[in-house]
């Protein structure tokens, strides 16, 4: 990097910090403690505070809602290095993201890669402005891991598609404005080839949603019903039959998100919980059977963290270990499930309450139940093991 570029970047960093310090309200620099703290935009958007509105509006004006998209789409046109500097400075100050949006994280990349120029100009700026809240419609009832087996039908009616079918596991389906869907436009060809990628306005007649209640209680998921929904043909992205290619591209983005979403702070250190809940006899945990399990868990937890460290270091050194995302997904979720099994064992009777203030409305029990989904969502543990066996170890298919 030559000196003048470096100098320019130093200036950019200084200016960025100054701007953030001047413009990001104090309350928008506090850690997020619940999903309700976030601003999601959309037709029915509500700000939880004036600070939140001010922060969003200032960032929008600065074009830093999606700083790395081209300016013609409402982005800030920053290059990779500038974007990295901005992110670093925001992290340093603790600035919240001004807008949370599946449009930015999931739909946007697909549009940029696969949509027509016209479609990009129509949808991307709306995403940046937070006008439309998007949700994702891939999974269907009965399909589970077999995403490509989807049955939602989009019939070509000349000037529009007539869509019939049902989607499940739509995050915030009841709060979203539009849904990007995988639909089947052709039943004659092999299952992967008949799939198309379609954008549907959820205000259209025939669209309805129903919340899904999980074993842990309420959830952000809904079912989405599509009943004779008319969709303009221009809402199809790329060619008919390209849906699977687009979906695969997007799934990599989704898998990255699952790792980070829902994490609020670091989980409690099990050995400390153990000391508090079980007590010590002669300096060791009074329940020696549980002690053994906690020790084994903490060993694996510590070494899993070093493994993340190592693999990042290897990647930096140019040692790309692609399919390892399946390892992280599998081992990380299994560890988390073990953590909550042990938490429940350590808390004993106190961990079993489901309602009431003392238990914070059954917080531990509900979290415990929720972790059981970790090894299912985003590709089951079995799927991850299949991928490791085949792609990494090269074991043959039957």
């Amino acid at each position: 990097m030559n000196d003048s570029i470096k100098q320019n970047l130093d200036i950019f960093r200084k200016e960025t910090r100054a701007w953030l310090e001047a413009n990001c309200p104090e309350s928008m620099r506090q850690p997020v403690t619940s999903p309700n703290d976030l601003y999601w935009g959309g037709r029915n958007a509500k700000y939880i505070s004036d600070d939140q509105r001010i922060w969003f509006e200032r960032m929008l004006e600065k074009k830093w809602i999606v700083p790395y998209w081209e300016e013609k789409y409402g982005g800030g046109g920053l290059n990779n290095i500038e974007h990295k500097i901005l992110t670093e400075e925001m992290t340093k100050l603790g600035c919240r993201k001004p807008l949370f949006s599946f449009g930015i994280s999931m739909l946007g990349p697909a549009l940029l890669k696969f949509a027509t120029a016209e479609q990009k100009l129509k949808y991307l700026p709306e995403i940046v402005q937070g006008k439309i809240r998007w949700c994702q419609g891939y999974s269907e009832p009965g399909a589970g891991s077999d995403l490509a087996g989807l049955q939602t039908k989009a019939e070509d009616m000349g000037d529009h598609y007539l869509v019939n079918g049902q989607k499940v596991w739509t995050s915030y389906g009841d709060k979203s404005d539009w849904i990007f869907c995988l639909v089947r436009t052709n039943f004659e060809v092999s299952k992967h080839k008949g799939v198309s990628f379609l954008l549907i306005d959820m205000a259209s007649e025939g669209v309805s949603t129903r919340p899904i209640k999980l074993i842990s209680g309420k959830s952000p998921f809904t079912e989405t019903f599509l009943d004779n929904v008319k969709v303009p043909k221009g809402n199809l992205i790329n060619e008919p039959g390209q849906g699977w290619t687009i979906a695969k591209y997007l799934l990599t983005h989704e898998r990255q998100m699952i790792g980070g979403v829902g994490e609020t702070g670091t989980p409690p250190q099990l050995s400390e919980v153990a000391q508090e809940c079980i007590g010590l006899t002669n300096g060791i945990l009074s329940d020696s059977i549980l002690r053994s399990k906690v020790a084994k868990f903490e060993m694996d937890e510590a070494i899993f963290d070093y493994t993340i460290e190592r693999i990042i270091d290897e990647a930096k050194a140019g040692n790309n270990s692609g399919a390892l995302s399946s390892f992280f997904k599998y081992y990380g979720t299994e560890l988390n499930i073990s953590r909550y099994e042990l938490m429940l064992a350590l808390q004993g009777y106190d961990g079993l309450a489901w309602e009431g203030e003392a238990s914070n409305e059954g917080q531990l029990a509900r979290l415990f139940c929720r972790t059981k989904g970790n090894s299912i969502e985003g590709g089951t543990s079995e799927i991850q093991l299949n991928i490791i066996a085949k792609r990494i170890l090269g074991l043959p298919s039957s």
């Binding site: 074993i215 809940c277 329940d287 099994e341 429940l344 004993g348 009777y349 139940c369 543990s381 093991l385």
Partner: protein, 380 residues
């Protein structure tokens, strides 16, 4: 004493299964939960269970019961475990009824056992005080004042405690916390002044109250003093019998959750094939099958040991509770995982087994507690 049930026991089991199939099914528990039912169990169903004699199974005929034995009660509990039926069977019959039968004097038995057999009262068993099951951890004091005891303390995890008519209260007349000597059991009317209860709704949608005793004055002859080796021995024997009863209930849950999972494996398709054809899932299912064979054996072995008044009761009780705790956890986890996304929804019933498994695991000692106890019994 062969490890099989008799024809009579089988007949009982079959009629209970019939009764619960409709009236005690999980839909029933779900309704109680969603309606925030103030009682927490179905009184009409309980009446039918009483009419079938279930409340009197282990009460001697002399006291209005059937004297049918614990192996029989075990079959009933197994069926309530399959259907996750909430009822006072555990609190009143298995725990309190056993304590009174073993430790009551003639007057106490004559007064209380026919009421239990008749299904007229609910008795909460108030023993627990800490986060974990710990029979010796008794801080609650029973202080003798003239011809009364005055009870002070707080009890946790009192099953059906918020609707109980009476309590069996474990309290200490002397000795330090964690000492066996000084622990005694008392029969206390729930309406006695100084008692307050807080209903706690548990993960499994059942109730387990917090019960506070503040200067609760009871007559000195409320103590259960009819057991040969004193209060703590009475408590331990009552607990061992109840642990075995719970293990029988757990066996029902294990069997039901497993059978539902196997049925699902045979029907569910992914990638165009029945998922039950996947060898990795087959091996997991087969391993669960093997573990369940062990579960069946220890439950019947332990139930028979109660009826035979075996000196080996404590060891068998811990084996049963430890093993069933381990395997109910395994089978309920595998159930959710193999049902996949649908298993995570509240609409699907498999999750109810996960929740019951975790509550019953902790109740009267989890696998860790009982493995530790088994090790101590063998001096290591």
């Amino acid at each position: 004493m062969p490890l099989i049930i008799t024809e009579e026991q089988q007949m009982l089991k079959t009629s209970v299964k019939e009764l619960l199939k409709n009236k005690g099914a999980i839909t029933n528990l779900r309704k109680l939960r969603d309606d925030s039912d103030p009682i927490g169990f179905d009184k009409e169903l309980w009446k039918e269970m009483v009419d079938l004699g279930l409340s009197g199974l282990v009460i001697p005929e002399a006291y209005g019961g059937l004297g049918f034995g614990y192996t029989g009660l075990g079959q009933v509990l197994e069926e309530t475990g399959r259907t996750l039926t909430a009822s006072p069977l555990v609190s009143t019959v298995l725990l309190s009824g056993t304590a009174i039968r073993l430790g009551g004097d003639v007057m106490q038995k004559e007064q209380l056992l026919p009421e239990i057999a008749g299904g007229n009262i609910v008795i909460g068993f108030a023993s627990e005080e800490g986060k974990h099951h710990a029979p010796k951890l008794v801080k609650t004091a029973a202080t003798l004042q003239g011809d009364s005891y005055v009870i002070n303390g707080t009890k946790k995890m009192v099953l059906d405690g918020h609707v109980a008519d009476k309590f069996i209260v474990v309290a200490r007349t002397n000795g330090a916390v964690d000492e066996e000597a000084g622990i005694e059991l008392f029969v206390v009317d729930a309406k006695t002044e100084g008692i307050t209860t807080e209903r706690i709704i548990m993960m499994d949608s059942r109730n387990a109250a917090l019960v506070h005793f503040k200067d609760v004055k009871i007559s000195a002859n409320s103590r259960l003093d009819g057991f040969t080796n004193g209060g703590y021995a009475l408590l331990e024997k009552t607990l061992d019998i109840a642990r075995i009863g719970l293990a029988a209930e757990m066996l029902g849950g294990v069997n039901e959750a497993f059978e539902r999972t196997i049925a699902y494996l045979k029907e569910r398709q992914q990638f165009g094939v029945i998922i039950g054809t996947f060898q990795a899932l087959q091996h997991r299912a087969a391993k669960m099958f093997c573990e369940i064979e062990l579960c069946k054996s220890i439950v019947i072995k332990a139930l028979k040991a109660i009826d035979a008044d075996s000196p080996d009761l404590a060891r068998l009780a811990s084996l049963a509770k430890a093993k069933l705790g381990e395997i109910y956890q395994l089978v309920s986890n595998e159930g959710i995982q193999l049902f996949g996304g649908i298993g995570m929804t509240d609409d699907e019933e498999i999750g109810f087994f996960l929740k019951r498994a975790r509550v019953v695991q902790q109740t009267l000692g989890d696998t860790n507690f009982h493995l530790d106890r088994l090790a101590r019994m063998r001096f290591f």
